[in-house]
């Protein structure tokens, strides 16, 4: 991969920008087009680009399967936990209105939280799917 100096340099410049753009899409989600799913896919694409240029083995060191599995599960828990928080504050399950002092802030906070959960799960799932397909010949049978 040493031959492709231009690709590597450009990728190094692009990867932080891709991640930042993912976060933009993430936080823009509650006002306009965007949200956790799209942001998660964009964020994962940064990892996939890194793995394409520097190899799956190096990429796995950055994002160990154990960590990715954990965030995969944590995303679901963040989503469901937001629902439970609403229950504990006296609302229906996933009723964001009760999460803050007034309904509008509550809805805002609730959507941001569940979108963050979606973001974690989707980006982890994307990375896992890529690693499983790309790493089949490297270490079959590992997580």
């Amino acid at each position: 991969m040493n031959r492709f100096a231009i690709l590597r340099v450009v990728a190094k410049l692009l990867i932080p920008a891709i991640m930042l753009f993912a976060l933009y899409v993430q936080f823009h989600g509650d006002f306009g087009p965007g949200g956790g799913f799209q942001a998660g896919v964009i964020f994962a694409s940064a990892f996939i680009l890194y793995a394409l240029l520097f190899g799956v083995v190096t990429a796995r060191k950055v994002a160990p399967p154990r960590l990715i599995n954990t965030t995969l599960a944590l995303g679901v828990l963040v989503y469901a936990g937001t629902g439970f928080a609403a229950l504990l504050r006296g609302g229906q399950y996933l009723d964001y209105s009760v999460l803050a002092h007034d309904a509008v802030h509550g809805q805002h906070l609730g959507i941001s939280l569940i979108e963050f959960g979606v973001f974690m799960t989707v980006s982890s799932a994307m990375i896992t799917i890529f690693f499983v397909f790309a790493g089949q010949d490297v270490d079959e049978g590992q997580d």
Binding site: N69, A73, L77, G83, F84, L87, G91, Q92, Y93, L94
Partner: protein
């Protein structure tokens, strides 16, 4: 504060426990958690059934959004009845699962088994409680996707191809269902079942709605494994791990039968309204074909699990025929058979699982004479066999009684004759198992085996007791299903 939120807790608690088990990565913790959650869900289902009996249907608006706009969970008598059935099976199958899972699945994957079990369980409960046609699709996919993984965990390599075939057929079924829902949405602008039921009569004459019903019926029939669409089922049940066969054989097709009843009766208001497309007659024909054809195939099987799988397809025929009769007795037969068939198939697959645990084979030739060494398992198998045939004082008889009543009320003697014929064919294939278990000289593999461990026998005996009790006194389940059927047929215009 828990009671008003029971409908959602029923679904969300198992859903949340699955990722927790994934993070903890411990088989022991995962099993205990699955036991706690399934039994809690069973208790919750009983409470919900009690509440529905006292105060009528319960609704729950997710996120506080009112019904036609937000997702609504709606539990009526039928949902509560199915919920109790599914949670009872789920909580008994998990007790049974521990020993065979530890033996049949590689140690580093056992915790994943319980994660998938909990997810599949979540999906089944979700289908039962939801009052939203699209939400039903989501739960159908949750339960099916995890079922594919569960089947593929079988120690036999053929489990992979069986799971893959099920994946393809199941996905086609789910896609057909969602195409149908999309067409209904196109014409009515709503996904809520109660709202759909109110709006559909105005557009029933349109071709799009005919297509929607056709797609949904075919899609759900695929999941239900009605006769020509059953090809995924025998391999999936045969090559899956023992515990998975118990759980899936007793729940997955039953929940599809529930979904079909829900769509035809609650959403479309009963099959009688389809004068231009006689879907009830088609279902009746395919249901009777299932009963006879699958029984004929089952008679010639040498593998006990495959024999029981074909008998499942034949028993699914009873449910389909019942719901296609369109009268209260017929529908009640379908509903009570959801419970009865779940209990008898769980019992039979558990007994076969016990035999497999000790003998290591499920071929009739290899297990010959096992009942002398494993008397309790043998007796349980006998009880399940009687239920399958539908002899008096077995739960199968309760179904047959309703079904015959429903068919005779319409004056359809041939249907009644087919039901009785199917029972006689069941006698033939059950006899093959009984003969191998009791009357043949013991096979070499059977020498020196002991009775299955207590943790596997406990759920087996509970299920056998349920089979005997509700066979002798079928009034509780019978009255519940008649009340549920009356509520469903009563809503038809």
């Amino acid at each position: 504060m828990i009671t008003p939120h029971l409908p959602i807790l029923e679904v969300v608690l198992p859903l949340v426990s699955a990722p927790i088990c994934l993070i903890l990565r411990s088989a022991v913790v995962a099993w205990w958690m699955a036991v706690a959650l399934t039994w809690a869900a069973f208790a919750g289902a009983l409470m919900l059934l009690g509440e529905v009996l006292n105060a009528g249907p319960i609704t729950y608006a997710l996120g506080g959004w009112a019904a036609p706009w937000g997702i609504e969970y709606r539990i009526d008598l039928l949902s509560a009845f199915v919920l109790v059935t599914v949670t009872a099976i789920g909580s008994l199958a998990i007790l049974f699962a521990r020993a065979p899972v530890a033996r049949e699945i590689p140690a580093d994957r056992v915790y994943l088994f319980y994660v998938m079990y909990l997810l599949s369980f979540t999906g089944l409960l979700g289908i039962a409680v939801t009052g939203d046609a699209f939400n039903l699709f989501v739960f159908l996919e949750i339960t099916s996707l995890s079922a594919y993984v569960l089947i593929s965990l079988g120690s036999d390599r053929r489990a992979l191809t069986a799971a893959f075939r099920y994946l393809i057929m199941g996905t086609i079924g789910a896609t057909f269902y969602i195409i149908g829902v999309g067409m209904m949405y196109m014409m009515t602008g709503t996904l809520n079942m109660a709202d759909l039921a109110a709006r559909l009569p105005g557009v029933l004459h349109l071709r799009t709605i005919d297509m929607a019903l056709a797609f949904i019926t075919v899609g759900l029939s695929l999941k239900l494994a009605v006769f020509p669409l059953h090809f995924w089922l025998p391999n999936a049940y045969t090559h899956a791990p023992s515990a998975v066969s118990v759980f899936l054989a007793a729940t997955s097709t039953k929940i599809a039968a529930y979904a079909l009843i829900r769509i035809i009766y609650t959403v479309f208001g009963g099959p009688a309204v389809f004068a231009p497309m006689p879907i009830d007659e088609m279902l009746l024909g395919f249901g009777m074909l299932s009963m006879i054809a699958a029984s004929l195939v089952a008679m010639f099987q040498d593998n006990m699990k495959r024999l029981l799988a074909y008998s499942s397809i034949s028993q699914i025929g009873y449910m389909v025929v019942g719901l296609s009769l369109g009268n209260v007795e017929g529908l009640a037969a379908s509903i009570v058979h959801i419970f009865n068939h779940a209990m008898m198939k769980a019992l039979l697959f558990m007994a076969v699982g016990c035999v497999f645990y000790r003998v290591g084979s499920v071929r009739l030739a290899d297990i010959a004479g096992f009942a002398r060494r494993m008397p309790i398992t043998g007796a349980a198998l006998l009880v399940g066999g009687f239920s399958l045939i539908g002899t008096p004082l077995s739960i199968g008889f309760v179904t047959k009684w309703f079904l015959l009543e429903g068919a005779l009320e319409k004056g359809w003697w041939p249907v009644a004759a087919i039901v009785i014929l199917s029972g006689l064919l069941a006698l033939v294939y059950v006899w093959r198992i009984v003969e191998a278990a009791y009357f043949r000289a013991p096979a070499p593999a059977v020498e020196g085996i002991r009775e299955a461990p207590a943790i596997m026998l406990a759920p087996l005996l509970i299920l056998a007791a349920i089979n005997i009790f509700f066979g002798i006194d079928g009034t509780l389940t019978g009255d519940l299903s008649i009340a549920a059927a009356q509520a469903l047929v009563g809503t038809s215009p």
